[in-house]
């Protein structure tokens, strides 16, 4: 313990942080851009590193309380982790209700905190490629930043009369 490297011993595990799937999403992100007429748009910032992600969404309001996310785009400059997380998010979010989206974010948080059950949870789909973050806690905010922006954008879309700027 006393002689454990201060820079982290788990080299092999952390090499796996940058799985090919993450790099693919980073190089060619899905859902990049802005919706021209969003129902909600919000920016999440990480003041420590200066990264920001802006997410715009439209909602489909079906009968009764049946609200679903119909379109989503994101913009922002950031690291491979935040960009890949945002890109995968745009793939997974369409067709889900606000409740389902927040449940998904909760599962992602569990995954990033190293919950072994989340690592095999198929509802997370490609997001499981981010599981290596559990060993690099400094990068956790990067993976969650797009999801924070999504949460704020959906909140704004579902609460009428909200100003478009956070």
């Amino acid at each position: 313990m006393a002689d454990a490297s201060p820079s982290g011993p788990d080299t092999a595990a952390r090499e796996a942080l940058y799985q090919e799937l993450i790099l693919t999403h980073y190089r060619r992100p899905h859902g990049k851009g802005r919706l021209p007429h969003p129902d909600g748009e919000a920016t999440a910032r990480n003041p420590l590193c200066g990264e920001d992600v802006t997410v715009s969404v439209t909602l489909d309001r079906g009968a009764g309380d049946n609200v679903q996310l119909s379109e989503i785009r994101f913009t922002g400059q950031g690291c491979a982790i935040s960009q890949a997380s945002a890109s995968m998010m745009t793939d997974l979010a369409v067709g889900r209700s606000p409740g389902q989206l927040s449940a998904l974010e909760g599962r992602l948080r569990a995954l990033l905190h190293g919950d072994p059950a989340a690592a095999t949870d198929e509802t997370l789909g490609p997001l499981r490629a981010l599981s290596g973050i559990a060993r690099v806690p400094a990068r956790l905010p990067c993976a969650l930043l797009p999801w924070e922006a999504l949460r704020l954008a959906v909140q704004q879309a579902t609460s009428s009369g909200h100003s478009p700027e956070r």
């Binding site: 820079s7 080299t11 690099v136």
Partner: protein, 416 residues
């Protein structure tokens, strides 16, 4: 150069610590001196009803002498111990600034200030309805003295300037800045956080009316630093904080202040920190600041040349000789945070981000850079590990993409 003097580095021979601009590792002499103080001389100073307290007071006074002399100051009353540069600069902005800056006055800073020497002045300007002016940089990342000259007017009250940029390493011509400021009667405040550990500093020769520094970047303990001021300015300043130690007489409805330096040091002081900082100053003096500078200059030049030779890598700021021990760079197609994580896997510690200098990074047109910084314990092996790590990161991320577009403002350009 001196790795064996630093217990953490001696314990971890494979570690490449390249983040000394954030904080420096501690030589054993600093740790030993602090421990000895606690074991032999510890009590609350200035309450001297007994011998032990007198000994603690003497330790504190001696530390003040040693640290002051490190900066060329013989009168120890001119050194106010603080928690560090941030507190020192806030002290000047609050205590001196509020009592001297009025509506319509002007405050001048530079584009490359750390947030600690930018935000306090910006906020003071807002509060006092003073104008807040920012001196820009040349395309090479140096202070544009012509622009600065155009901003300084008879209404200028303060010119606040970093001695060395923490983000890109530029060494600023503080003496020339001071001459311009003094010509209109303005006060010169120097953020010395990044120069105190790396350059020989004579506060008065520099022309600084106030000079702020942090002990932890010099190899001293965390939580101690200082503010050196001109005696007359310190004498006329109202207190920054009030409470114990800083009073003379406390009446029911009024209080008079203690003499310098106590007037500006409310509460029980950080004597152990001061004693440790004095040991760090002595350690650096024994090496010799010109030797420290020469060593870091050699490593900075080597690292800049080696990195700039890698396709896709841009090194920011002036040529290496005009920088302190800082190499700020980007790698095309690779975000600085990803680079830092991959380097960390190889036991290379660097900083990634905006380096608490958002106004500068904005003007450079980059959201983040990677920053390697050097101190007395670094050597060529650290540079080689850094270069190898950058190449490995490029390998993981694939071939470098096209160079990102140069910044429109062009505040800092490629070097090499």
């Amino acid at each position: 150069m001196r790795r064996a003097d630093f217990p953490l580095l001696a314990r971890h021979p494979d570690l490449h610590y390249l983040d000394s601009a954030a904080t420096a590792q501690k030589p054993a002499v600093v740790l030993d001196v602090e421990r000895t103080f606690y074991e032999t001389s510890y009590a609350n100073p200035h309450r001297g009803a007994y011998d032990l307290s007198t000994r603690a007071t003497e330790c504190y006074q001696e530390a003040r002498q040693v640290v002051g002399r490190f900066f060329g100051v013989d009168d120890p009353r001119r050194l106010i111990f603080t928690r560090g540069t941030t507190e020192s600069l806030n002290l000047v902005a609050a205590a001196w600034g509020r009592s001297h800056v009025r509506a319509g006055d002007e405050i001048v800073v530079t584009r490359l200030e750390h947030h600690a020497d930018f935000v306090p002045w910006q906020q003071l300007a807002i509060e006092r309805r003073a104008a807040f002016r920012i001196a820009e940089l040349t395309p090479a990342g140096e202070l544009d003295l012509d622009h600065l000259r155009s901003l300084i007017t008879p209404r200028t009250r303060v010119v606040a300037v970093a001695h060395v940029s923490n983000a890109i390493g530029t060494i600023l011509p503080v003496a020339e800045v001071a001459a311009l400021a003094h010509a209109v009667g303005a006060v010169v405040v120097v953020d010395g956080a990044q120069s105190a550990p790396h350059l020989a500093v004579d506060v008065d020769a520099l022309g600084a009316d106030f000079f702020a520094f942090s002990g932890h970047k010099m190899g001293g303990p965390m939580g101690i630093g200082g503010l050196i001021g001109r005696r007359a300015l310190l004498e006329e300043m109202p207190p920054y904080q009030t409470g114990g130690d800083m009073i003379e007489v406390v009446g029911d409805d009024r209080t008079s202040w203690n003499v310098l330096p106590h007037k500006l040091e409310a509460g029980t002081p950080n004597v152990a920190g001061a004693v440790g900082l004095a040991a760090a100053c002595t350690y650096l003096t024994q090496i010799g600041m010109s030797a420290v500078r020469a060593h870091e200059r050699r490593l900075t030049t080597l690292a800049s040349d080696r990195l700039a030779a890698i396709p896709g890598v841009r090194v920011y700021g002036p040529p290496a000789g005009g920088r302190s021990g800082v190499v700020s760079f980007t790698v095309a197609g690779l975000h600085a945070h990803d680079l830092a994580t991959i380097l960390d896997q190889r036991q290379v510690c660097i900083r990634a981000g905006h380096h608490c200098a958002q106004p500068l990074l904005r003007s450079m047109g980059v959201p983040a850079t990677a920053r390697a910084s050097f101190f007395v314990y670094n050597d060529e092996g650290d540079v080689e590990a850094l270069v190898a790590g950058v190449l490995a990161a490029q390998e993981i991320f694939g071939a470098p993409a096209d160079d990102p577009p140069a910044s429109a403002a062009g505040a800092a350009v490629e070097h090499g």
